[in-house]
């Protein structure tokens, strides 16, 4: 995907997807780990989602997951800028939380639950920005 080199690249959701603009291959999903009960949460977590502890530690997820379930969306909602149909994958991160995102770069006949996934991204153009959106791909 070509991006305009003059465009600034921003994350689709800085609370969930942290960019390494020097090397976009190193983008990571982020969240928190509860220091009291060890539960991991994807995205913001003011208190622990499981035990309400306030001892939360920021984490960067490894970006590896397995495919827990998936669907193929044939009728996307207004505002979806991407391919139609698209594969929506529910990934279970190695650390535990589930993350919904498009599954790309995968042959349809390779997709089944249980396959290993790794984190990737695509750029969506929006005015003067390129927005980096997190996606999954088949390992």
């Amino acid at each position: 995907m070509a991006n305009n080199v003059n465009n600034k690249i921003v994350s689709v959701d800085p609370e969930r997807f942290k960019l390494d603009t020097a090397n976009l291959e190193n983008n990571v999903l982020i969240g928190y780990r509860c220091q009291t009960c060890n539960v991991y949460v994807f995205g913001p977590s003011t208190y622990c989602q499981s035990c309400s502890s306030r001892s939360m530690e920021e984490v960067e997820f490894a970006g590896t997951a397995i495919l827990y379930s998936y669907t193929v969306i044939h009728v996307p909602p207004a505002g979806w800028p991407g391919r139609v149909p698209y594969v929506l994958g529910e990934a279970e991160l190695s650390e535990g939380p589930h993350v919904l995102a498009e599954l790309i770069d995968s042959e349809v006949n390779e997709i089944e639950t249980g396959i290993k996934l790794s984190l990737t991204y695509e750029l969506v153009q929006n005015n003067n920005n390129d927005i980096a959106v997190y996606k999954w791909r088949f390992n």
Partner: protein, 384 residues
């Protein structure tokens, strides 16, 4: 969690329903008003004896919609509250009204819900949300994720899940209020337009417009207004819960599909009623798979078994666990704020014995379960 049991007898004294469908020449205020007036008339309680009103509604069409609906009835100075809890807005309004009467604050309350849902896929977030670029916010997509997982875990064939739609459509054939009254075979359901694989169009509830209303009152007001007790079933459980941590941060996740279960357990505990005592069940069948997983959450069937019960005809009108007796969301349609109250309307019709064409014989105890993004669940149990 509310561990308190009801301390007063709260009755549904009146019910009203505007048909569900598409009404391009009517605004939402007039649609809602028709249901309200019908409920007030049905109750026999005059408008100026109603002490509060709660209105369930999701989409913003300007402020103070409840007040604007009621204004032509005459604003009498009572508290009017607009309630939003996604698809559970109406049943949340009901929950509020119920416990306010139980507390002794009121004796007669109007509860109503209305919506005009535009066509197209339903999302939780608005169009400017980053979720629109990520692609995970798709209500039917979420049900499809659950459907695939359910089929893999239970071995349920697609035809058994589609059977939910066949059944609910068949219940609505003689129901003049239903948005959709056509019946289909399993093959037609499976071959309809693919929305989110494996969910086809006819396995998803229609986007609709409509309104429903009920008048709740105390036992004292039943006597005061000479209301026939046999027509005014008692609400014996009213529960509202929100989701707890399920590891996904998304309502649409296939992980942890039994989020109604805590509300169900509270409702059975509160009322002393066993799931086996329930004569008829209305559940939130936004998609076919939803009916199955809600029935399992409600302990009407064991986990993973609801598809078998459906296949065996147990959830049909003639079965032992009749479910979605008026056609449910799948056939009635789903105007968000109205649906939770529509379920109460149907339950009362059945308990009164006047649900002609779809009457469950000897119905005494009815359960109504409604879900909403958030995620929110309500469970109500009525008894006469």
């Amino acid at each position: 969690m509310i561990n308190k049991k009801p301390s007063r007898s709260v009755r549904v004294a009146g019910i009203g329903l505007h048909p569900f469908g598409r009404f391009r020449n009517k605004n939402i205020q007039s649609i809602a008003r028709e249901a309200v007036v019908e409920a007030l008339t049905d109750s026999g309680i005059p408008w100026n004896s109603i002490q509060a009103a709660y209105f369930g509604h999701v989409y913003y069409e300007g402020m103070s919609m409840g007040e604007r609906v009621l204004s032509p009835l005459g604003l009498t100075g009572i508290p009017i509250v607009n309630v939003e809890n996604a698809c559970s807005s109406g049943s949340t309004a009901l929950w509020q009204a119920f416990w306010m009467i139980d507390s002794g604050l009121y004796d007669a309350v109007l509860v109503f819900g209305a919506e005009k849902v535009p066509s197209g896929p339903v999302t939780v977030t608005s169009e400017d949300s980053p979720e629109r670029l990520i692609g995970g916010d798709h209500m039917m997509g979420g049900y499809a994720l659950r459907m695939r997982k359910y089929m893999e875990d239970t071995g349920a064939p697609a035809s058994s899940i589609a059977q939910v739609a066949v059944k609910n459509r068949s219940h609505a054939v003689l129901n003049p209020y239903a948005h959709r009254k056509e019946t289909y075979t399993v093959e037609q359901i499976l071959k309809s337009r693919m929305i989110a694989d494996p969910l086809t169009l006819l396995q998803c509830c229609p986007t609709s417009e409509g309104a429903a209303a009920v008048v709740l009152c105390s036992e004292e007001y039943l006597l005061k207004f000479g209301i026939d007790k046999s027509k005014a079933p008692e609400i014996v459980a009213s529960v509202l819960t929100s989701g707890d941590y399920n590891g996904s941060g998304s309502d649409h996740s296939a992980f942890s599909p039994y989020r109604t279960e805590p509300a169900a357990l509270q409702a059975y505990e509160m009322s002393g009623i066993d799931p086996n005592d329930v004569d008829l069940i209305q559940v939130h069948d936004a998609a076919t798979i939803a009916e199955l997983q809600q029935l399992e959450s409600l302990h009407i069937f064991e986990k993973g078994e609801a598809w078998v019960g459906t296949q065996e005809g147990r959830t049909a009108l003639s079965g032992d666990r009749p479910t979605n007796t008026d056609g449910g969301l799948l056939a009635m349609g789903h105007p968000f704020g109205a649906s939770g109250i529509r379920m109460i309307h149907e339950t009362v019709m059945q308990l009164r014995g006047v649900a002609s064409g779809r009457q469950v014989e000897g119905a005494h105890i009815g359960l109504a379960q409604c879900s909403g993004a958030g995620d929110v669940t309500t469970v109500h149990i009525l008894k006469n």
